[in-house]
Amino acid sequence: MHEILQILYENAKATPSEIAALLGRSEEEVAEKIKEMEDAGIIRKYITLINWEKLDQSVVFAVLELKVALQRKRGYDAVAERIARFSEVESVRLVSGGHDLSVTVRGKSMKDIAYFVAEKIAPLEGIQSTCTHFILKSYKEHGAILTDQPKPERLVITP
């Protein structure tokens, strides 16, 4: 991975001047490279990883397994892109294995999501079957362990 991307992948807040100091390059050079990658669509969005468990408000996630019946002239892309337009949908992926599309959905309640699937996803042309897995607990997201762990101790001064 590009070394600037690697830094941003771990910390979207890293500024061009911070990245420049880490890489021993000029701030302008780094800013320009980032702009290039944004324009090229390599960098799509800067996000914040939230530990929802720590929030009072109820947020529910589910993973949908969808089987898709392909029709003439219409590949997976058409169905996938149609699903991706719903604001409730967080991610859409074509996967290998027992089903075709893996879709992450966010809602306020299980009922919310159940209705969404029943009313919006299942009836779509080409959707053969749906299977909804509600996420009960998330342990690790985007490389970050979400459960609180004690910080390993180091001696403050060692030779």
Binding site: I7, E18, A21, L22, L23, G24, P152, R154, L155, V156, I157, T158, P159
Partner: protein, 402 residues
Amino acid sequence: MKKQTKKQSLKNVPPWDAKRHINQSVRDMPPSGIRKFFDLVNEMKGAISLGVGEPDFVTPWHVREACIYSLELGSTHYTSNKGMPELREAICQEAKRDKGLEYDSSEEILITTGVSEGVDLAFRATLNPGEEAVVPEPCYVAYTPDIILAGGVPRTVPTHLENEFRVQREDIARAVTGKTRSLLLSYPNNPTGAIMTRPDLEDLADVVMENDLIVISDEVYGELSYNRDHTSFAQLEGMKERTIILGGLSKSHAMTGWRIGYALGDPALIGAMTKIHQYTMLCAPTMAQVAALEAMQAGKEEMLQMRHEYNLRRRLFVSGLNRIGLDCFEPKGAFYAFPSIEGFGLSSEEFAERLLHEQKVAVVPGNVFGESGEGFLRCSYATSREELIEALDRMETFIKSL
């Protein structure tokens, strides 16, 4: 009646004094300068410590997991004195692959309990009472005490900023006497971060040959060499036999607490070290050897990732030091920066103590690592980027207040 006479005969026993029973060399040994600082820092809440000589990373999980699994299987027995054959083989293979050095895993390698034990064994196995070992300073704090405990005499040689703390041929030549047996090299260096390139080392080879010395080369930071491969003295032509390489996984694989190191060298030298090791240590801890084997076999990727992260921090921190007015030459290995405090009118200890009390940043005064370290500070960048940035801010505030 009998009892009474016995009591009377004990009358002239002097009062108990434990100190009288302590070996003279140990009694004369000054307390470590690090210790005093440790106590000071320990009392200070909220201090950022740049004083730690070990990685901040925890040992990669697959390595820890391999150890846990071995315990489940009951691998709790002794290993061969020399260490597990598979581990010895893995280390020898790496030496061949990375350095082109061939060692026979049955008699040219010893697994030690950390490089610390290796240093001790190397001196004890090679020095006769009164014989000398040359030690370039500033350096890790254990070498001179180990030499003294081995009955030897340390001959320290200063290294200087103008040579980027590389030891100079003339200085070694000047320190060598008829009694000198060995030269210690520790590059990449703790505390300076200095390295010796192949030409730098080649410059020393004839002094070593002429005086029939052996080289004890502490290469525990060997893998942490930035933007170039580390060269070992043993890689120089004709120097392999004369060199004992001391290496380990502590720094490169974030395994300090496991205490696994190794010595590579001539079978006679390794054999002599093994003799002492078998009576004093028997073998390195078995579970730690299992973990080390996993690290050797499957830990390269993480090692490279950690090195990459140190390299990022190195650039960030060293450029930061120079920006705030603490002149620092570019350290090319280990994870230490060694900035100069010349011009502030303070000794290393005064500077470090005031920095700790006034801005709560802990660094180690350079004089702890030898006289030639006076005027410098050892700052470890094996700590998070956020802490490094915060430490730089605080150090800048401190400098402005002087």
